[in-house]
Symmetry: C2
Subunit: 436 residues, 2 copies
């Protein structure tokens, strides 16, 4: 008998069934993971997290989360770049799975939410479904990807980029940290050099919950961010070469001081942003600067520095980059130094699935949460997955202007729970969808 009548209920299934995640359990889970790699920040006295990819602390964090996955009944697979997948069976277990996750590696000065909320949030969704004895049609996979931050081996979204085939495994294996340690060896050392193939079979969809890492949602007093995509990102590595000279004797006019050039680039970055010619959405940062030989009484002969610029519109970023490169040339000429820049990363702006955005909006509305569309300023694993399947993100606001990559990073238990409840709705809705 053929059914006729209204279209399928647009309300996501999770909400329809009245499921609600356990906020206290989620907070406790974030705190437990945050204790692994905890350190006390010198300047603020706050306790932060330092869990650089493939470090001893990352290994401990991974083992902790794998144990949590297994305790929640997930079947754990580790691939050859250390990505970890925890699978929950579906009613139709051969249907393409719905995936959710993020990363648990961190920068050297992190808080406990960046990445971890997405992993532990997805795990909280599983625990909620377990408690309610709900089995979705499609399997669910909770994932965490390796070296998302790029803080140790210099390439961000490393694990997810390898999984979707953007970066070859062998190239990833050969990346080195500052001390010359190689990815493959370090993965092996912490016991997470898995045997599963890295090539990811395209999931039905991928959804990631993440803190905003910026001030917009909190300033607008909004509960949830509907992420429309990720802004375009461009990294430059600068090597500025001048001429070392005696600090006490060499007149300014005879110097070729690469440090002076680096400082001028730094200030030029801010001028570029403040000019307004690239809208107020341009971001520009010099995160690395190191003078060589680095002696009090020697004019440096070489400065290594980095530039990070971002904009939601790739075309605008391209214009900003072109102007920056002209600035490099002008400053180098005026300071009589050589400035070589290498584009060490470049990603265009990425648009997330409209379907996932709509599901996020509907869930928020059904739960009485305020929501707002937002472009992600940071890169995320989701942008890699977006090349393989419909993908999207739920953003959670952060206190203190949404500060992140800082021990002060903090989202309240309610902010976290709101985001993960929306994640629950979206994942369960997607997991009921028809098709292979």
């Amino acid at each position: 008998m053929k059914m006729t009548g209204p279209l399928p209920d647009p309300l996501p299934r999770g909400e329809r069934e009245g499921l609600v995640i356990d906020s206290a359990r989620l907070s406790a889970s974030l705190e437990a993971l945050g204790r692994i790699g905890a350190y006390t920040d010198e300047s603020s006295g706050l306790v932060g997290v330092r869990r650089l990819a493939f470090s001893k602390e990352d290994g401990e964090g991974r083992t902790h989360v794998v144990n949590e996955m297994r305790a929640a009944g997930l079947e754990v697979t580790i691939d050859r770049i250390g990505n970890v997948y925890g699978r929950r069976r579906g009613r139709d277990d051969r249907a393409k799975p719905v995936m959710s996750g993020s990363h648990i590696d961190s920068v050297a000065t992190a808080g406990r939410f960046d990445g971890c909320l997405g992993v532990l949030g997805a795990l909280e969704v599983v625990k909620t479904l377990n408690a309610a004895k709900v089995t979705t049609r499609r399997p669910l996979i909770v994932a965490f990807f390796s070296e998302e931050e790029g803080a140790r081996f210099g390439t961000d979204m490393l694990g997810s980029a390898v999984a979707v085939g953007r970066i070859p495994l062998e190239r990833a294996y050969g990346l080195t940290d500052r001390d010359g340690n190689v990815v493959r060896t370090e993965l092996e050392r912490i016991g997470f050099l898995g045997t599963a193939p890295v090539e990811l079979a395209a999931p039905h969809a991928y959804v990631e919950c993440h803190i905003e890492q910026g001030p917009m949602l909190r300033a607008a007093n909004v509960d949830v961010g509907i992420v429309t995509g990720v802004q375009a990102i461009c990294w430059h590595e600068l090597v500025i070469t001048g001429r070392s000279a005696h600090a006490g004797t060499t007149p300014m006019s005879l110097r070729a001081d690469p440090g002076m050039a680096a400082s001028r680039v730094q200030l030029a970055l801010r001028d570029l942003v403040r000019s307004g010619r690239f809208t107020d959405q341009l971001r520009a940062t010099m995160g690395v600067t190191q003078f060589h030989p680095g002696l009090v009484n020697v004019v440096p002969n070489r400065v290594v520095a980095s530039v990070d610029i971002r904009h939601p519109d790739d075309a605008v970023l391209r214009r900003a980059e072109a102007e920056l490169v002209e600035l490099y040339a002008r400053i180098a000429a005026e300071e009589k130094v050589t400035l070589v820049h290498r584009q060490s990363a470049r990603t265009p702006d990425i648009a997330f699935s409209p379907k996932v955005q709509d599901l996020v909006a509907k869930s928020a509305a059904a739960r009485g949460l305020s929501a707002q569309r937002i472009v992600s300023g940071a890169g995320h694993d989701c942008q890699e997955l977006a090349t393989r399947c419909p993908a999207g993100m739920v953003f959670v606001p952060g206190e203190y202007d949404g500060i992140s990559h800082n021990p002060r990073e903090f989202s309240t238990p309610k902010q976290c729970a709101d985001g993960v409840n929306v994640l629950l709705d979206v994942l369960t809705a997607l997991a009921e969808e028809e098709g292979p």
Copy 2:
């Protein structure tokens, strides 16, 4: 019978006796020492010298010079801070000795003249006297002092400062390099932890030949510099603390970026010099800058930097320093960061002995060399010795604007020989002087 008649001959004894140093031998000697710790500079392809204090290379250099001293008949003594003294007997061997020397340690990007010319030049004087079978009335001592550069343990003129009692031996022993190595252990490792007391018995006089390390003499086409003293020096170590934040999301207005503050200090230094308010003799340099944590996508939370300012007039330097400290405060307030500065070195301007200056001038005139009075921009061991006895310096011009602390550092064989011939005259004149 009492002599009457003209005053003693004002012409220095060396010249009177027609002594001339062996320029080729001096050059060969500089080259031989320059091969120890030689390295190839990445940017220029030039061969430079890297012989940091108490390193393996410094140990090899020291052994080489000690062997040279012994070959020249000198009796070698090593004191407890590693200063090395090679003594040549005088006709009146109990009279106070005349001392000459410098240092053989180097910065990480050095040439082969800085310091070495003074040590090997003094040794060349001894070889010349040996060859001529001349014995001076007073003993002569050829000295080289430990860690003059301060490039490894952060305190320049370390060995000579300990010898004259300005720095206590135990404090010197406890100084550490960047890797936490301690002076005493490092001295012991290279076999130069001597047993002689460090307290230097005041010599009759001390004279040091050194490259100018600046452009003045060469620009004026002058053969020899008569050094009137050393300019005042002030070092600041800056620790600037801001707030780390995500580079991709945090708007400029919400940042507290210590890197931005460091760059502004760097440019302010040059503005201070260019203002002309401190005459054109002010020098200002930022030799160290390092961002922490030093990641492409993280606004730094801490920057460590150094400032070196110098001026021939201590009162002027004091004014410049006061203005600089005000600048620190203003920049820190505007950038919403904390800037703490520590005065890590401070020496007032030092005047050298008028008698030694006159002897240098007379020798130059007698040898048909052009000469000019000049203030030293760099600190030298001579300024430490000047607190214990009449002391002075002979400067030798350098090619390429007198560049130093750079593999390009170069003085021609003639320039070196001119300086050392003057040194010969001055030392032999002083060594004939009457008295205890």
